[in-house]
């Protein structure tokens, strides 16, 4: 079987190749060669310049140019600096970073050391959620083995450069992935964001300049050094270089972890890599950017994936969640689902996010329960705009995106809910209606006997009726009836 190789594995290059618990395996695949190269032949400025030329941008969501961040952190004077690896990965369903750490921990350790060399830091901290026991275990083993080989610790490869890496554990709060919240959490404070500036590069962990990068961002670094910035920057689009790892999920055949060059279209991802929609159903939408991204329609399927195109389309790159939806998904419920997540995960520090998202959720609930009005849709838009405009951190600033993008792209579905009292996807239970067609009902009493709430009345051998005020839309009668006498509208 020949397959078009749409994927390119850079960040995942060693995942599935090496035994992550054997440093020798990693060394056989050039682990620590980039560090060796930097320490022996490049000055920190040269390394930074190489990273800048490569065009690498942060994979944690923001897309900030990595080389520039290193340069800023390097240029702040301080007796002590830190390199922090953000392995909080709180997006629901995302596991890109976990996979990298489980499959190739050394790539991240090596990159952190390179970063330390560049910015002038001797300590690296990995902030990882405690719910990742395997990744934690493999990281610990990797750190230990690297220390034994002298690839971490004092005087690495005889260069005089010292670098140690410690682990910090998070309680698994999504907002702790936000870099200022992450730093506060590491400091033993409540994991809540603070206003930026100051950025961590200037004042971070314990008030010291701190370079925070995402796991996947780090995993790209050694390849850039080994293969060269030019090699790297040939992959991708004009403003987004390299590849991106996505956790492909939802109504798609090949659920899994993929890495594609920037510029790959959503269609290629969904149909060629993902193998199309499950059970041959119709594609409806693809959601990128995690809980704060947007839902795109089929009109966007030919959009080449990169930071800017996704934003222009009304979504975002995010950290790599990608969820495919089919015709059975109700977009109002989808928006509600994401909001439920942000609602739980908001730190509660600022009013628009703490209370605003709650109110958005309540309005969406009202709509899915069939009590919404056209004004509610307007209200959703107005409130969403204010929440985005006034929230303190990225969580609140982006939390209404699923609402806004589903209204923008699927307004007809919202309208069907509020105007006709119908859920086109048939997902909103309260909007379903079960009826017994008199002509078809034989009066077999099967539905009557199975209805859990006694909503069905009728005499044996005579047509039965459903009392709509009692019906809880469980669908049991619909399934049980042998004469197709029950309709669902």
């Amino acid at each position: 079987m020949t397959v078009l190789k749409k994927q390119v594995r850079i960040a995942l290059r060693n995942c599935g190749v090496i035994d992550p618990e054997q440093i020798e395996d990693a060394i056989a695949c050039d682990a620590y060669f980039a560090l060796g190269k930097c320490l022996t032949t490049y000055s920190p400025d040269e390394v930074i310049s190489e990273i800048k030329t490569s065009g690498l941008r942060g994979r944690g969501g923001g897309g900030f140019p990595t080389g520039l961040k290193w340069e800023i952190t390097k240029n702040v004077e301080s007796d002590q600096k830190y390199v922090v690896c953000n392995a909080d990965e709180g997006d629901p369903g995302a596991f890109m970073d976990r996979s990298i750490l489980e499959g190739d921990p050394h790539s991240v350790l090596e990159a952190m050391a390179i970063c330390g060399y560049c910015i002038g830091a001797n300590t690296g901290l990995i902030y990882i959620r405690a719910e990742y026991p395997l990744a934690i275990q493999r990281l610990k083993i990797a750190i230990k083995q690297a220390e034994e080989y002298g690839l971490l610790g004092d005087d690495i490869l005889g260069s005089g450069f010292d670098f140690k890496i410690e682990m910090r554990y998070g309680a698994g709060a999504f907002v702790c992935g936000e870099e200022t919240a992450l730093i506060h959490s590491m400091e033993g404070l409540r994991g809540e964001p603070t206003v930026k500036p100051p950025f961590p590069s200037v004042s971070g962990y314990l008030g010291k300049p701190t370079n925070v990068n995402n796991v996947e961002t780090f995993a790209n670094i050694p390849v850039i050094i080994n293969k060269g910035a030019k090699w790297f920057s040939r992959i991708g689009t004009e403003k987004s270089k390299g590849t991106k790892v996505f956790a492909l999920a939802g109504k798609i055949n090949n659920v899994g972890l993929i890495e594609v060059p920037m510029g790959t279209t959503l269609r290629e991802v969904v149909y060629e890599i993902g193998g199309g929609i499950v059970n041959g159903k119709k594609f409806k939408s693809v959601q990128t950017g995690g809980p704060s991204g947007g839902c795109l329609t089929k009109d966007f399927l030919d959009t080449p994936i990169d930071y800017d195109n996704l934003v222009a389309a009304g979504s975002m790159m995010g950290s790599g969640g990608m969820i495919v939806m089919d015709e059975d998904d109700c977009m109002v419920s989808i928006a509600k689902f994401y909001l439920e997540f942000t609602l739980e995960e908001s730190c509660g520090k600022c009013n628009p996010c703490r209370i605003g998202n709650k109110r958005l959720h309540e309005i969406l609930t009202k709509i899915t329960e069939g009590n919404g009005t056209v004004e509610d849709i307007e209200r959703l838009k107005e409130l969403s705009d204010v929440i985005k405009d006034t929230s303190l951190c990225g969580l609140g600033q982006s939390s209404p995106n699923p609402v806004l993008s589903t209204i923008a792209n699927f307004e007809d579905e919202y309208m069907a809910h509020v105007k006709e009292g119908k859920c086109p996807a048939g997902q909103c239970k309260s909007l379903l209606r079960y009826d017994i067609v008199e002509d078809l009902c034989t009066g077999c009493t099967l539905c009557f006997r199975n209805c859990p709430v006694g909503a069905i009345t009728g005499e044996r051998r005579l047509p039965h009726f459903i009392d709509q005020s009692l019906c809880i839309k469980c669908g049991v009668c619909f399934e049980k009836c042998k004469f197709d006498a029950i309709t669902l509208t």
Partner: protein, 588 residues
């Protein structure tokens, strides 16, 4: 100095680099509304979590709105503070806050003094378009403070006071999302925590979420009871602040009107805690000199420095945090408790009433005093030396509900024998005052000479920690002063580490001392009010004929008739106390 230029609402201004947009706007007379932000100038206290988002402004070229309180102005910025976008955002945020707030203004302790109410009014909110679930938490009542955190707006001011300023660390944000709120850990009751009842959280809370326990009802009932003789004492800081509740300029002294008002309220005897402050100086000063002289004569076991003990929040603080040092503070009771003990013995005997029929009410700037009066050491057969404590604010409420036109009252004098005081007693109300009063007396007793001067400017001021050396006729006495428990902690840690060289240290829990107490009229973040109250206190002192405690004739008489001499056995029994290790008491 680096300066930058920017325009705010089309006005061009030049400000220092590092100025916030909020402060920059204020320089050109543009007031940007704020809710969570609080800056107490001079005291170095600032709360700016950037959480309420009421202060947002539009910055040209920026994607979203910027919080003015915690965004620095930059060169070339163009800012609109009241554009349609800004006003709409502000009003929407306010509506959101109100949508999660009980509509209880009519019966709220904070009504009329509530920053949230004011802001809703200022933003012209007539309708709340967002309706939905409201947060509900358990109300919590302690001996001094009530927490109704359904009314909490998460401004975090109390947290700043309790953690950063007081270093008690009882209050912090808990839970996540819509359920987050400021509370003791695990939502435990304040009563079970290490709370000192300093009341600084109450003093800054913009809403009715934190208030003092209201005892006015009990006072009214006592006054109405014909079988009771009700005496009242009023603390020094009250007279320097009560006027604010009646529209008078901060810093107006209302001693005479205060006495008149208390009389009209029906108190049988209107006395002064300042009298008891003079008594405190006699006891504490003597104790200081005893320890000092033992030390000078080579006694190695003597504990120095001696620490003042008149602030109950401070007492509770060291009982929880530094129990190993509980033998260092003076054993002298606070003036309020000395007054109660004397009133229910000496004065009750004079009147020939049983102590159960004598009701002692205290008017205090303080909420911790509500807790202090309930401590078991200060009861005789279950009957407390002080029956009720009401704050300056509660007194104002009592005066208002009694239809007394405060500003039209004549000036009247305190009753005797517990109403006369020296200037030394008055300055107990401000940071530095207790130790200055002690110096005035201790100097003269120790040196047997008359003080060449009475104003010790080196002990005065608003610096959080101050130190001075006073020359006791050749003997240099080193004095430390701390106000705010965080500052006190620093001095205590020095003592623990054996690094302290002080002979005596004065500690008051509240920034500014009792003039800034948790029961005073709300300062709404304007720290200049505290300074004005402080000035008033020193003015009252300098107006007094007698300015040294040991010269107060009624004090002299009290020792002659009743107590014998300072530190006598009777004095010990009535005027001194002991401290407890409270580290085990904290339970969830």
């Amino acid at each position: 100095m680096d300066t930058i230029n920017l325009t705010i609402d089309n006005k061009t201004i030049e400000v220092k680099k590092g100025t916030s947009i909020l402060d920059a706007a204020a320089e050109v007379g543009i007031e940007i509304p704020t809710l969570c932000h609080m800056k107490l100038h001079d005291l170095n206290i600032e709360n700016k979590p950037g959480g309420c988002r009421i202060c947002v402004v539009e910055v040209e070229g920026r994607r979203n709105l910027a919080p003015a309180c915690c965004t620095d102005a930059h060169d070339g910025m163009e800012i609109s503070t009241h554009s349609l976008r800004v006003v709409n955002a502000r009003r929407t945020v306010m509506e959101l806050i109100l949508s999660d707030h009980p509509f209880e203004c009519l019966i709220c302790a904070k009504s009329g003094n509530c920053d949230l109410q004011d802001m809703a009014h200022q933003l012209g909110i007539r309708e709340v378009h967002y309706k939905g679930e409201q947060s509900h938490y358990r109300a919590d009542t302690s001996p001094a403070i009530i927490r109704e955190i359904d009314k909490c707006i998460m401004c975090r001011r109390c947290e700043t006071m309790c953690n950063d300023v007081q270093t008690v660390g009882v209050l912090s944000a808990i839970n996540r999302g819509f359920n987050s709120v400021v509370s003791p850990a695990f939502e435990m009751n304040l009563d079970h925590s290490e709370c000192t009842y300093c009341g600084q959280c109450v003093a800054v809370c913009p809403t009715g979420a934190l208030t003092e326990v209201d005892e006015t009802g009990k006072v009214i009932r006592a006054l109405a009871d014909p079988t009771k003789t009700v005496v009242v004492q009023t603390a020094p800081a009250v007279r320097a602040a009560l006027g604010e509740e009646f529209g008078l300029e901060p810093g107006t002294l209302v001693t005479g009107k205060l006495v008149a008002a208390l009389r009209r309220l029906g108190f049988n005897h209107v006395f002064d805690t300042d009298f008891a402050a003079d008594l405190t100086i006699m006891e504490e000063g003597t104790e200081l000199l005893n320890r000092l002289n033992r030390f000078l004569s080579g006694d190695k076991d003597v504990k120095l420095p001696i620490l003042t003990s008149c602030c109950p929040a401070w007492v509770k603080f060291f009982e929880h945090q530094f129990p190993d040092m509980k033998d260092i503070p003076s054993t002298a009771r606070s003036p309020m408790q000395m007054f109660g003990a004397i009133a229910k013995t000496y004065f009750a005997e004079k009147l020939a009433v049983k102590r159960e029929d004598l009701v002692v009410v205290s008017i205090m700037p303080c909420v911790a005093k509500k807790y202090e009066r309930g401590r078991d050491e200060f009861k005789v057969n279950g009957n407390p030396d002080v029956d009720h404590v009401i704050t300056t604010r509660e007194l104002a409420a009592l005066i208002k509900l009694s239809n007394i036109d405060f500003n039209a009252l004549p000036n009247e004098e305190f009753d005797n024998p517990l109403g006369e005081s020296s200037g030394a007693g008055v300055i107990f109300g401000t940071t530095g005052g207790v130790i200055e009063a002690a110096v005035r007396t201790a100097y003269e007793i120790q040196t047997k000479k008359e003080l060449p001067r009475l104003d010790f400017d080196e002990l005065r001021g608003m610096e959080g920690i101050r130190e001075a050396t006073i020359d006791f006729d050749g003997l240099p006495i080193k004095i430390g002063i701390a106000h705010g428990l965080g500052n006190a902690r620093k001095l205590l840690e020095d003592i623990q580490a054996g690094k302290s060289e002080f002979h005596a240290i004065e500690i008051m829990s509240c920034p500014g001392g009792c003039i800034g107490g948790g029961g005073q009229p709300y300062h709404h973040g304007d720290a200049s009010i505290l300074k004005k109250r402080q000035m008033a206190i020193y003015r009252e002192d300098s107006n007094k004929a007698i300015r040294k405690s040991h010269e107060n004739p009624y004090i002299i008489n009290l020792y002659k008739e009743f107590l014998g001499e300072p530190m006598s056995e009777k004095a010990h029994h009535l005027l001194h106390t002991q401290y407890f290790d409270r580290t085990e008491k904290v339970k969830i």
